[in-house]
């Protein structure tokens, strides 16, 4: 107490130690999380990369990406060599050598060949859902940011957006199943028994009997799920366009719609597209909503093969990459023979998702640096 300076110094010293400890603990926690994230990433790359990469030029093994999913046959031949072949090669082998030459055979479903079907299915599903969600979402955002005044309707819309954003994905799956698969309206010659309501139109029926499990039903479900994200992001981009642009345009005598089309949308579009890339990643990554609305575990054709008319593609079931991974993880016991299919699919899937995410971050930064007012 006699020497205040000493007291202060003492205090500072004591605090240093404490601060250092707290900082070390919190920093340890944080870097622990970061480390786990990197470990996960590393593990998947380490085990998955061999499926799509090879050691000689051109280093990328496209077989895995372009071949269809098949059953894997693992067996020994007469001289004790172990083979593991996808179904088509296996049948060719058996044809050549005779079925007596196959011993200790084991089969692993979905584990042979490649993942062309799931990739194509996911691509179609994601593109279709993002197209729907962008159309409705941007229109809703334009209303919210350009037309709406505070009122009851707006309050309700905002409440709905907020609540929709929190609905669990499996509930979206139930919703999609009950609405799009079982109750959405179609034109049909003969309404089915479970149709909710069938309106005769003379030459045909307009029946609420659902779209069955199909591409369009799955895409609609996913679109509903990402709609709130797209609306919120689009509204932000629209609001970021300076008010002066609108005022100037209106002052020149343009109508509201002309103003929006010529002076607001073009400047908000980069931002909207950026955020939609992020939603793309989310739509591609979800499994629960597509389980009952579109996805199948096995399909011999790619989605566009064997269709009678071009619109038939909307009515086909497709394989999807997340559902394929679910099937591989849940139904196929892990072994050295299934590892290529399992880790390979996960690796490709994760790369796709990260590509989208990284793309959206890069785009966002470019948009921010380019558009400044």
């Amino acid at each position: 107490m006699e020497n205040p300076e000493q007291l202060i110094r003492k205090g500072v010293h004591h605090d240093r130690l404490k601060e250092g400890t707290v900082k070390a603990v919190l920093g340890g926690l944080t870097w622990g999380v970061v480390l786990v994230a990197l470990l996960i990433f590393g593990r998947i790359c380490w085990d998955g990369a061999p499926a799509v990469l090879k050691s000689e030029f051109p280093f990328v093994d496209t077989d895995f990406l372009t071949a269809k999913t098949e059953t894997l046959h693992v067996f020994d031949d007469a001289v004790g060599n172990r083979h593991s072949l996808p179904a088509t090669e296996y049948h060719a082998w058996v044809e050549k050598e005779g079925s007596d030459a196959v011993f200790n055979e084991q089969t692993y479903s979905y584990s042979g060949g490649g993942i062309a079907g799931p990739i194509a299915g996911t691509a179609l599903l994601t593109l279709l859902s993002i197209a729907m969600a962008l159309f409705f979402g941007v229109a809703a955002a334009i209303y919210l940011s350009e037309y709406a005044k505070q009122g009851r309707f707006i309050g309700l819309v905002r409440l709905a957006i907020l609540n929709l954003a929190g609905v669990p994905s499996i509930v979206f799956g139930l919703f999609g199943f009950a609405v799009f698969v079982l109750a959405a309206p179609v034109f049909t010659e003969a309404p089915s028994e479970r149709s909710l309501l069938a309106i005769p139109l003379g030459f045909t029926w307009f029946s609420f009997q659902g779209w069955n499990s199909s591409l369009i039903a799955g895409a609609a479900t996913l679109a509903c799920m990402i709609l709130p994200v797209i609306i919120t992001a689009s509204e932000e981009s629209l609001k970021a366009v300076p008010q002066g642009f609108r005022e100037a345009s209106l002052a020149m005598g343009a109508t509201r719609w002309q103003t929006i089309r010529k002076c607001v949308l073009p400047f908000a579009l980069p931002g909207i597209l950026t955020s939609s890339v992020l939603s793309l990643a989310r739509a591609a990554g979800e499994t629960a909503p597509i389980m009952f609305t579109v996805a199948v575990a096995a399909k011999d054709d790619l989605p566009w093969e064997g269709l009678s008319n071009p619109f038939g593609i909307f009515q086909t079931q497709v394989q999807a990459l997340p559902y394929h991974i679910y099937t591989l993880a849940a139904r196929i016991p892990s072994s050295e023979f299934t590892q290529r299919a399992q880790y390979g699919s996960v690796f490709v899937f994760l790369m796709m998702i990260f590509l989208f995410s990284a793309l959206s971050i890069i785009l966002r930064n470019r948009v921010r640096s380019k558009l400044k007012w």
């Binding site: 929190g166 979800e286 629960a288």
Partner: protein, 647 residues
């Protein structure tokens, strides 16, 4: 500006004005319609969930009524006692084996490890070994071609060398409990073993012998205990037989009643079709089919049940036997067991004894009071769903839809996830926002955001392929056996799922907490600094309290994400529909369970459209929807409060 044009200077019918007004209203209506779409979707979600789920309670009530009418409920009164008895004896058995195994844990592990090595080698050499075997089997009289045998033997040797060096598959299993000499001896033994022999090496046999000798030695002092357990377990034989016999009777009654109901429904449909039919011959045919549709008579429940109800005295006698066995067991059991785990099981048994005795007495009263014609109210059906402890579907006896097992699973997993995610997420947010340098921030933030981008199915896959095995192997270590629940029995359990869900919740909690900390006005921290507070005091006494509602909201949103998450729990939680066994203490977290989300994902694809089971899944969906909305709503309220506080 004296000559600026006023609004009246443009004539009302000027094309400039007219053109805009007409279409602009349309555009506005179009955009408003799209905004309204969100409301429509939300209303559709609620409406269709309720539409599909609403029929559940009346249907379930009808099923329960049939359950009571046909006397299944009566038999279940005693069956419940039997199940409880089984659980009690299993507790005693677990106590017994825990005590026995505790003393020969080392021998057991040595034996297991040696067997693991033998198995590993056997699997690696299998292709060559089986080919060799095959060739010799088929050789017959003329013998085996020299060349083939030589090449196969070479192959076998190559594989064996690979295996001994641990190059194939996952490598040689570790043997921490075998001495290096023993291990070397075992490997040498295996190396020199005849290619065709599958006999176990000497060491494996010796270890097995040691183990059984040790087990016998450990069981010696427990002989009385064993006898008491067996006596208690055997006491249920009379009741077992009674339940099985009367179970068959009532099941037949129920099946007859169900068949009759199906036939009556079919007749009603046919008669309806007959009424609608336009051609007279169609009408006649439908009517004829309708008459033929019903082949059985309606079941008269009371007389059919009489033979079962007449046996009530026998039931009471069997019950009395059980009660006597229970009372007798109390005296014969050892006072205490040395092993902590065994002692816990025994204590649980003793604690359960009184409750079980009361339950047996209650059953006696309930058997007499039971009537098959008491109505079941809708209220008690709903109560039965909300407080039901069983979710049994697709069984031959009776389906029950009780939400408690699923709810417990979801809750326990959420507890584990939050216990991990709150310290990590909030801690990382505080560190990144307040303590880390700029360069550190620029690395940490994107990495944790990347964590959010990982799809849940990928995490679920990792849980199955990596984490589950890793945790189980870790739990086998001797040095960790003091942790409750270790060694882990099931590879897929709530803890594994909770860890992964925690990992999923961290980015949510981190990002939102960081935002909340960021939003604290810098003047707060500046004022605190100016008053001479240290850095830590500023952070924990000023900044964090100011951001607390934002952090709480972040935690709640994280909870919402955890409860609503499907794929991880479906893949990793183990999917056992049972209330976890809380007698294990903290070890309860290492048991498998099923969840609200998981059950929908797993069963919706398999149930027939419109059945009670199908509707039950939608009711679970409604419940889930309500829970998650409630959580999110609370979080939003908190955020709102937070904003007002700083404006």
């Amino acid at each position: 500006m004296p000559d600026s044009p006023t609004s009246s200077s443009v004539p009302a019918d000027h094309p400039f004005r007219r053109k805009g007004r007409g279409t602009d209203g349309l555009f506005k209506a179009f955009f408003a319609g799209n905004a309204g779409l969100t409301i429509v979707i939300l209303v559709l979600i609620i409406a269709f969930l309720i539409r599909e789920g609403a029929g559940f309670f009346p249907d379930y009530r009808r099923e329960l009524e049939l359950y009571r009418r046909s006397g299944l409920e009566f038999v279940d009164l005693s069956r419940k006692d039997l199940t409880a008895h089984e659980q009690m004896s299993s507790l005693l058995n677990r106590a017994y084996y825990a005590q026995v195994n505790a003393s020969c844990r080392n021998e057991f592990q040595r034996s297991q490890e040696a067997a693991a090595i033998v198995n590993y080698l056997g699997e690696v050499v299998a292709p060559a070994q089986s080919a060799l075997q095959r060739v010799l089997d088929r050789a017959g009289e003329e013998g085996v071609p020299e060349e083939l045998q030589a090449s196969l033997s070479a192959k076998y040797q190559a594989l064996l060398a690979d295996a001994l060096a641990g190059r194939a598959g996952k490598g040689l299993p570790p043997t921490p409990h075998l001495s290096s000499a023993e291990r070397a001896g075992l490997l040498a033994d295996l190396k020199s073993r005849d290619p065709l022999s599958t006999d176990d090496p000497a060491l494996v046999l010796a270890l097995q012998e040691q183990l059984s000798a040790r087990q016998d030695a450990a069981a010696q002092p427990l002989e009385d205990f064993r006898a008491a357990i067996d006596a208690f377990a055997d006491a249920s034989v009379a009741l077992d037989n009674l339940v099985a016999e009367s179970g068959d009777t009532v099941k037949a009654i129920k099946e007859a009643a169900t068949l009759h109901e199906i036939e009556t429904t079919k007749r009603a449909t046919l008669l309806e079709a007959a009424a609608k039919a336009k051609k007279p011959e169609d009408k006649l045919q439908f009517e004829a089919e309708a008459r033929a549709a019903v082949t059985t008579e309606a079941v008269d429940f009371a007389p059919a049940l009489k033979p079962v109800l007449d046996r009530i005295p026998e039931f009471r006698e069997a019950n009395a036997a059980l009660s006597a066995a229970l009372a007798g067991a109390g005296d014969k059991l050892p006072k205490r067991l040395e092993d902590a785990k065994a002692q816990r099981y025994l204590a649980t048994f003793r604690k359960g004894m009184d409750a079980y005795a009361i339950e047996l007495a209650d059953t006696n009263a309930a058997l007499v009071a039971w009537r098959n014609d008491l109505p079941i109210g809708l209220g008690s059906t709903i109560l039965g769903f909300v407080t039901g402890r069983e979710w049994i579907t697709g069984g031959e006896w009776q389906d029950f839809y009780g939400i408690i097992p699923l709810f417990t699973g979801s809750l326990l997993i959420a507890v584990i996830a939050l216990a991990l995610a709150i310290p990590l997420g909030v801690g990382a947010a505080i560190y990144t926002n307040q303590l880390a340098g700029r360069r550190e921030q620029n690395f940490i933030k994107p990495t944790i955001e990347f964590l959010q981008a990982i799809p849940s199915v990928v995490l679920g896959f990792l849980g199955i392929a990596v984490l589950g095995t890793l945790l189980q192997e870790t739990s086998m270590k001797d040095s960790l056996s003091w942790i409750p629940g270790f060694p882990i029995q099931e590879r897929l359990n709530m803890f594994t799922a909770g860890c992964l869900l925690g990992l999923m919740a961290i980015p949510t909690i981190f990002t939102l907490s960081e935002d909340a900390l960021n939003n604290v006005p810098s003047s707060f921290a500046e004022a605190s600094d100016a008053l001479g507070a240290s850095k830590l005091q500023t952070i924990f006494r000023v900044v964090c309290p100011a951001a607390i509602s934002g952090i709480l909201a972040a935690v709640l949103l994280g909870l919402g994400r955890v409860i609503g998450e499907t794929m991880v729990v479906l893949l990793v939680a183990g999917n056992r529909i049972e209330i976890p066994d809380f007698t294990e203490g903290l070890g309860v977290f290492f048991q498998p369970a099923h969840t609200l989300t998981g059950i929908i994902a797993q069963e919706l694809g398999e149930v027939p459209f419109g059945s009670v089971h199908y509707r039950a899944l939608f009711v679970v969906g409604i419940l889930l929807f309500a829970i998650v909305l409630g959580i999110n709503w609370t979080a939003q309220r908190m955020l709102h409060k937070f904003r007002i506080g700083h404006d």
